[in-house]
Amino acid sequence: MKFRGRVWKFGDNIDTDAIIPARYLATSDSAALAQHCMEDANPEFIRQMKRGDIILAGENFGCGSSREHAPIAIKAAGISCVVAKSFARIFYRNAFNMGLPIFESSKLWSLAEEGQVIVVDADVGVITIVGSRRKPVEINAIPEFMQELIESGGLISHLAKKYKEMNN
């Protein structure tokens, strides 16, 4: 599993309200949520981002409420993965359970600049900055069973698939 995309940088403590403001939560339609993704943190983001782009954030990304709308909005906006110095605990689980791959790296934030293209290799566990001579940054690789989960679009659809197989 590899992700290649332009970097969008955000700071520390980006909370779930910055990811998807509570005023838009009347819907759980993912496309509708995606239109307001990161709106309060950077209003230009959703207009200028392209499919496959990558969010690079500081400490404690996704803190605040336990709402699953936050990873759903990011995923539906077309972000391929999120790299942050650290994630809020509940966001971490929700992200994988909704099928959004996320990676922890304390180093990348100060090395990569906004707009640079990076390649995240989830199999080996490294991130390279395209065009940079720096050594790749190490991250925890995503084991196969978790890659399957992401590819099926999240925990419940993954389970539905697995459950079917179990009963066949």
Binding site: E68, R89, R93, N140, L159, A160
Partner: protein, 417 residues
């Protein structure tokens, strides 16, 4: 490896687990209650589930809004009951047999040492007192566990907490964990396992250990855990109906942090509104009048807690205009409290005694606070609005302080009686 890493590794079928690793592990017990399980049941059905992975390993407890508080809660409990019936769940406990989940499961021998337990309730970490790995998850995770008997985890780092010395009079496990949270803050152990060590641990009763593990989540921890010893052995031996495994941390296990605490320096602690970390020693509390005192919950609703409360309340009565509500955590504890004459003492002290329920702890029913009211409670959370009106206040303490406060009408130590 630490005990947490060993339990995770064995349940994932791998040799070694390191902090930060993502693993897929087998679940021994999956727990849900009347608030979280109905959502999980829906997700379970959405995923095409028709049968739970093992009817002996899914535990469903209607304890939060029971006996049914209103029509909504009745509907939720019914959803839980219908599912339990349909799936022929072994460990479903109806009102009248029911107790607060985190007290009931160890008491019934459902959770045993070495187990990997998940529960759709944040205080699932309580079972760490039994040398088990247990942690709170969301309803979707519970659905997944009910379906396949497995769940993914990110292995936590472990923080070593060493407790030295001897506890003073009126000091209990509650005061130790409050003092720890006061020191490290509500995010002091974020993501981490808290493993408790030291000679002070050996003298702690199981009740004290459950209280400490229960509140690990209040420091942000994923789990809290104690090593298996003689105290846990004698608790488990008479309850276990199946085999269990004992894991121990290696001497060279690695810890991300070490914290030491001399318990002889700790006096009874009170957590001021609105965070469990906002603690002061009882002698530094000042004059704080209360409207209600609550003794109960998964933190301090055990028989040991009721005995301490009775010791303080014996021959005394609750202050005028103050309500003292006592909630034994399980039917068994309730019965014991009657047999030991504790209920008699509570009644003579003018306390209200309730059937087991979470009720007042989460501001659900059985003791909700009005605007401007103040309560002292033996529970685990004093967040804004937790027990009622957003402008009410909760002070957390041990049962001895809660009982003394009920008598004097202000937050007080039993020494002031």
């Amino acid at each position: 490896m630490t005990i947490t890493e060993k339990i995770l590794a064995s349940h994932a079928g791998i040799k070694e687990v390191k902090p930060g690793m993502l693993i897929n592990a087998k679940i021994d017990i999956a727990l849900g209650n009347d608030i979280t399980a109905p959502i999980a049941i829906q997700e379970f059905q959405k995923a095409g589930g028709s049968k739970v992975f093992d009817k002996n390993k899914v535990v469903l407890i209607p304890d939060h809004f029971t006996p049914n508080k209103d029509i909504n809660s009745a509907q939720q409990c019914k959803a839980l009951r219908d599912f339990a019936k349909e799936q022929d769940i072994t460990h479903y406990y109806e009102v009248g047999r029911m107790g607060i989940e985190h007290v009931l499961l160890p008491e019934e021998g459902i959770v045993l040492p070495g187990d990997l337990v998940i529960g759709a309730d944040s205080h699932t970490c309580t079972y760490g007192a039994l040398a088990a790995f247990s942690t709170g998850v969301g309803s979707t995770d519970l659905a997944a566990a009910m379906l396949t008997g497995e769940l993914w985890f990110k292995a936590p780092e472990t923080m070593k907490i060493i407790l030295h010395g001897n506890m003073r009079e009126w000091v209990s496990g509650k005061d130790l964990i409050l003092a720890i949270i006061g020191r490290i803050g509500v995010d002091g152990a974020l993501y981490k396992a808290m493993e408790f060590f030291g000679e002070a641990i050996k003298k702690l009763t199981m009740a004290d250990r459950f209280t400490i593990a229960n509140m690990a989540i209040e420091a942000g921890a994923k789990n809290g855990i104690f090593a298996f010893d003689e105290v846990s052995r004698s608790y488990v031996e008479k309850r276990a109906k199946r085999e269990y495994a004992i894991y121990e941390s290696d001497h060279d296990a690695s810890y991300c942090e070490v914290m030491e605490l001399n318990v002889s320096e700790i006096e009874p602690q009170v957590a001021f509104p609105h965070l469990p970390s906002n603690v002061r020693g009882i002698t530094k509390v000042g004059e704080i009048h209360i409207d209600q005192a609550l003794i109960g919950s998964c933190t301090n609703g055990r028989i040991e807690d009721l005995r301490i409360a009775a010791k303080v309340l014996k021959g005394r009565t609750v202050a005028p205009y103050v309500r003292l509500i006592i909630i034994p955590a399980t039917q068994e504890i309730y019965r014991q409290a009657i047999e030991e004459g504790l209920v008699e003492i509570f009644l003579s002290a003018n306390a209200a005694i309730s059937t087991p329920t979470c009720g007042a702890c989460l501001g659900g029913h059985m003791g909700v606070l009005a605007e401007g009211e103040r309560a002292i409670a033996t529970t685990n959370r004093n967040f804004v609005g937790r027990m009622g009106h957003p402008k009410s206040e909760i002070y957390l303490s041990n049962p001895a302080v809660a009982a003394a406060s009920a008598i004097l009408g202000r937050i007080a130590s039993p020494d002031e009686l």
